[in-house]
Amino acid sequence: MLAAGAHISKEKDLNAHIEAFVAQIKRRQIQGSYNVALATSQLLLRVVSAARWTHVDQLVTQIKVLGKRLQSAQPRELACGNIIRRVLALIREESEDTNDSESGDGAINSPLITSMFSLLSTNDEYGPNRQSQSLCDGTGRSIKKDLKPYIIEGIQELIDELRSIDESIASMGVEMIHENETILTPTPNSRTVLKFLLRTAQKRKFTVLVVEVFPNDVEKTHEFALKLAEAGIETTVITDAMVYSIMGRVGKVILGTHAVLANGGLLASAGAAMICQCANVHRTPVVVCTGLYKLSPMYPFDIESLIEVGDTGKVLEFEDGSLVDKVNVVNPLYDYVPPESVDLCITNMGGYSPNFMYRLVLDHYRQEDTTL
């Protein structure tokens, strides 16, 4: 009786926490894909440790429902869904591992099935099979007991990975930037790029051209330039319009991104598409620095729906009423950069060609989780 009451209050607590989190991402109080990813994984940690399930499928459904809710709270923040999918994949993997080790004959049978058959069969066919198989097992209780600490440990590892992402990306800087090079960055609100440049500056001397992606986050942009200059990097701030005139003198374009899609395309801050195109025209390599948590299994079938539009008051002041009334003002926050504009993606798992991103998607997510 007492225990049940405690459990109910605990559940209430958790629900309130989820509620608060949903409200926060709805109101954009948590901004930036890194912060969202970190907060999501921490939330999942709480959810999993509080969750009770008799079978792992119940946990999966629970998290899927939560994921759906989070994603509809901010459909354009893909990092949130990515983390959910990572955790789902983790749970599935753990449950398969225990299944394999527990049912001895299954362990003998499965290699036979997987060797050639899995190459030809799609995951969709493979998934339900496995689910029904695990349902038939019926030894849910023992599985659950074993699973929970493993899943929690996995999420913990994910959080650690998130925290160290910038470091592992930054360590590749010396391979990218040579002495006396001129670097242009069109996404000066990216902390990954900032750390990448700062870390590389310890070993190399180079010049950075900071493109202020006016009007959004211009304060952050300028602070970015300040930080670089304070660290002793030659820094020049230029406006968006000047990119073409100076691109011929640029060695590499290094950008951060909001999300990486499965085809290797990017959702980066507004202006990035134009600047990457400009770099392509000048045969300047375009390098993207991104953590794997930004990698989304989505394909850009409907680009317009992915691009968020921001405050038009930043483009045309509202005081100018007569003008604002008549004119349609647009302020897109993101740009879709096609994969052919990008030469290299540097992730915390190493550098990959954008064409290879789909493979990383397959490595980290399960196909059955693509739609939550």
Binding site: T207, L226, T239, A241, M242, V315, V327
Partner: protein
């Protein structure tokens, strides 16, 4: 005398005299002859050129009062005039030379910031220049206290207007300069012991040198000045100074009308045919000719909409979008960072020019190249509207070798309206490694441009030297 200078910018364009008409007629004949040659060479431009000639003849016979040509522009001049008269008064109070810039720049907050910045950090700028652009000078001046005695007040006022970007755009600057020269010539008295044709050129050169301290001369101004000096050098020594001055002033009047006003009208007539119902046309920043094209198309009842792409720090497009929307046009306004977002629905791109170089490169407001590049990538035709006075003999391959530097402090200001708002970079001069780059122009390669509409016809960028040669040989 100083008041005179102030009023000149305001003065309506005079009605043509018989002499002016003859001159103009001659010019037109020349133009036709040139066109005939140009047609042979630039086969593509043939039809358009003929149309242009027809329209320009119409313009000649109908002789509409110039005021009717561009009421909007006269208004803008009136607006500018107000600021000038402020300077003029100040200079009359100060006994010939202006000491205070306050009146002129007060209206333009950004430039107030600029001039202040340069005034304080005059020497600093040398150290804070961006390596690649060290060969370019920042010549922005903040006052006229150091002006020599023989600099005409009209030139002083104009210099300040240039420095504060109150008069901006190569046609507008060219016109304002020629008007100022008219005043200079009007007030000019040949000193004893020399002739007008010898001395006036020197006198003008000193005025021009002073004008250059505000901003480098625009290509149009360079072309106009070359023409004017040529005209002065051929003034007969037999006629009296009064006659000579009178004739020169008339010639300038005619030049402005032929090379800018009539040219604009011809371009508008030709370019407006490129607009059809349902078009969504993108333009960048503000060009006076392109604006007239849109207004004319609107007057003709063509239903289309315009997307104006704008950029920091001048926000010239805001003025463009204001005028267009006041005329009832459907407009969309976006900063250049949002370009790829709006590009999907665009049917054609209209651009203005500062100059078109002999190798077909378009030298225009910085950002034009990005717009043209993005449009080309999407197979959207890019049409440049440009008077032939903007054609230059120069060749250039990139935007670095020759450009104009604006004040870096314009970048520090992150406000989008007239009230300056220094951002986090307000102390940027204290950081030795931090630089702000503000160049004003960039170079658009000819392969991005589908055609250039001029008053002598429409032509591909590769035919620019043809027109230049025809003009020079004429």
């Amino acid at each position: 005398m100083p008041e005179l200078s102030a009023k000149v910018a305001l003065a309506p364009l005079g009605t043509p005299t018989t002499k002016g008409q003859q001159q103009r007629g001659k010019d037109n004949n020349n133009a036709e002859a040139q066109e005939a040659k140009a047609q042979r060479k630039a086969g593509k431009a043939e039809k358009a050129a003929r149309r242009a000639a027809r329209v320009s003849e119409q313009g000649k016979s109908n002789k509409p009062p110039p005021e009717a040509v561009a009421p909007a522009r006269v208004q803008s001049q009136a607006k500018q005039g107000r600021t000038v008269s402020g300077a003029g008064n100040a200079s009359s109070g100060g006994g010939g030379s202006t000491n205070s810039v306050g009146n002129v720049t007060a209206g333009n907050a950004i430039s107030a910031l600029t001039t202040q910045g340069t005034a304080i950090h005059g020497t600093d700028i040398l150290d804070k220049r961006v390596g690649l652009f060290k060969h370019l000078e920042i010549t922005r001046r903040s006052g006229t206290a150091d002006a020599a005695k023989d600099i005409h007040p009209a030139i002083l006022a104009l210099t300040l207007q240039f420095a504060s970007y109150t008069v901006i755009g190569s046609s507008a600057r060219c016109r304002a300069t020629l008007r100022a020269f008219q005043t200079v010539i009007k007030d000019y008295r040949t000193p004893a012991g020399t002739t007008l044709s010898r001395n006036l050129t020197n006198h003008l050169s000193r005025q021009i040198d002073f004008l250059k301290t505000a901003r480098p001369l625009s290509i149009t101004m360079g072309n106009a000045i070359r023409w004017l000096k040529q005209e002065i050098s051929v003034v007969s020594i037999d006629i009296s100074d009064d006659q000579a001055r009178e004739s020169l002033m008339e010639k300038i009047e005619t030049y402005i009308r032929d090379k800018i006003e009539v040219a604009d009208r011809v371009i508008v007539q030709s370019a407006v045919k490129q607009i059809s119902k349902g078009d969504v046309i993108l333009t960048f920043s503000r060009s006076a000719v392109v604006e007239q094209v849109f207004l004319e198309a609107n007057l003709r009842g063509i239903e289309f909409s315009v997307v104006v792409v704008d950029t920091r720090p001048f926000y010239e497009g805001k003025e463009m979008v204001r005028r267009l929307s006041n005329a009832g046009l459907r407009c969309e306004y976006v900063l250049i960072s949002g370009l790829s977002y709006v590009l999907n629905d665009i049917t054609s791109v209209f651009l203005g020019a500062h100059a078109v170089l002999s190798n077909g490169q378009l030298y225009s407001r910085v950002g034009t190249a990005l717009v043209a590049m993005s449009a080309k990538r999407k197979n959207i035709p890019v049409i440049v509207c440009c008077e032939s006075i903007k054609f230059s003999n120069r060749v250039q391959l990139d935007s670095v070798t020759f450009n104009e530097l604006g004040s870096p402090d314009d970048l520090m200001n992150i406000s989008i309206d007239s009230a300056p708002k220094p951002g986090p970079l307000k102390n940027w001069r204290d950081l030795p490694n931090l630089k702000l780059l503000n160049i004003l122009y960039d170079l658009t390669p000819p392969e991005y441009i589908k055609k250039i509409v001029t008053e002598v016809g429409s032509l591909p960028p590769s035919s620019v030297p043809v027109i230049i040669r025809e003009y020079n040989s004429a």
